[in-house]
Point group: C2
Chain length 253, copies 2
């Protein structure tokens, strides 16, 4: 069993802790969090929680899941040397410390109040040593079969892609919901469409899957939509994405 400590109990730390508890190869010893974690969350994970680095146990692997701008500082607080220390950031480079530096980047959208099936999560690994990589690979594979060796540069591009296909997509759901609310339409009517839109690109490429007024060169509908959006904040977004679709697909608008 790989003795593991998680440092940071935000959305990612929370789900990694749950995933580690389920994994056969991982012995989750402790979770460190800067502030005290609520009792019900502590109970949900069922492991020792600490808020003081002096109480940190010796482990094989420390997963550092804190905000990007404090990762380097947090790693310095680990009072042991030559340990595997992996951050979970999509953006940060591989660190260069006295530890065996690594990256353990689970590519998913994490919210504490949303259950996840960890077996489908892609885990992207990077390490400065083969031995470190092998240990992390064993660990990752006991969570999910989808484990990838990804360089810092690739990870940064993956993270950027993820912002488009997840964070920005979700914001478009927010806009769709707001339009529905303003016109007393239940947002649930759009659920099947949202599901199919995501599902479609498993069998078609996104370029093949494109539909809609911008693709069809349907200027009348586009003009009507822009009029409908007149008093909202979303008109510019509509215009810009419509132009981008037209440009990509060579549609004249």
């Amino acid at each position: 069993m790989i003795k593991t400590v998680i440092i940071g109990f935000g959305n990612v730390g929370f789900h990694l802790a749950k995933a580690c508890k389920l994994a056969n190869e991982i012995d989750l010893l402790q979770i460190y969090n800067r502030s005290e974690v609520e009792a019900n969350e502590q109970k949900e994970i069922g492991v020792e929680f600490i808020s003081n680095f002096k109480l940190l146990k010796k482990a094989d692997v420390y997963i550092v899941s804190v905000k990007d701008d404090v990762v380097a500082n947090v790693v310095q607080q680990i009072p042991f040397a030559n340990k595997i220390v992996a951050h979970t950031s999509g953006s940060l480079q591989l660190l260069n410390t006295k530890q065996n530096d690594a990256v353990f980047y689970p590519l998913q959208t994490f919210s504490k109040n949303k259950l996840l099936n960890y077996k489908t999560i892609p885990i992207c690994l990077e390490a400065n040593q083969k031995k470190t990589f092998t240990t992390l690979e064993k660990m990752a594979k006991s969570i999910s079969p989808n484990v990838y060796s990804i360089s810092t540069e690739q990870r940064q591009e993956l993270h950027l892609s993820a912002v488009f296909v997840c964070n920005f997509v979700n914001h478009l759901y927010v806009i769709g919901e707001e339009i529905c609310k303003q016109h007393q339409i239940p947002f649930e009517i759009l659920e099947a469409l949202i599901e199919e839109t995501a599902n479609k690109i498993k069998t078609l490429s996104p370029v093949e899957a494109q539909t809609g007024p911008a693709l069809r060169h349907d200027q009348k509908t586009i003009t009507r939509h822009l009029t409908q959006l007149e008093k909202t904040n979303f008109k510019d977004i509509y215009q810009q994405l419509t132009n981008s679709i037209a440009k990509k697909h060579g549609t004249k608008l």
Copy 2:
């Protein structure tokens, strides 16, 4: 059985034809299309195809699934009076012709080369007569249990929402795929994330489901992403959607 003719064999007509063939209450008599339909597609549906309005059979319901700007003209070609004539447009008003005018709007993204489960598709109905509505409701319910009475104004807003949550979302997938391709990253790595992003809003509202740098007030990552996008067409879209998320969630950027 409700005798039905479909006029127009684009993406929507194709899938409606398949759905009608599966429905117990619907007798699909014919499909009209302006140009001749390929033999393999004719065979897939297994019904008479015509390209001449003179060959149109008498039916209870004509579903008109053609481009918005030719709908009115096509309806005039129907050589029978007092029939139920329903268009499938998300944008057009209820027509006002010598027929029993109606709308039969299936809210989904349709591509011919993508199989669909018709039982999950919401069907939005509108009619100028109660009797017409009742017939269409019977028809729609034999395709899917999700049948709604939706006014023209609501339908136009639904269609606008659908552009955001489907057409624009798919374009963000296109962008995500392009970034991956440029950096030799298999787009499949993002599949679980895309699926979870769509799935998440079944249990959380889209506002609660939001994650990412714009929400976290993570200016460093945003700046890095904009640099990564420097030579692409996607920088403006990134900037605009990031600003919109920040505005919506009251994040200071």
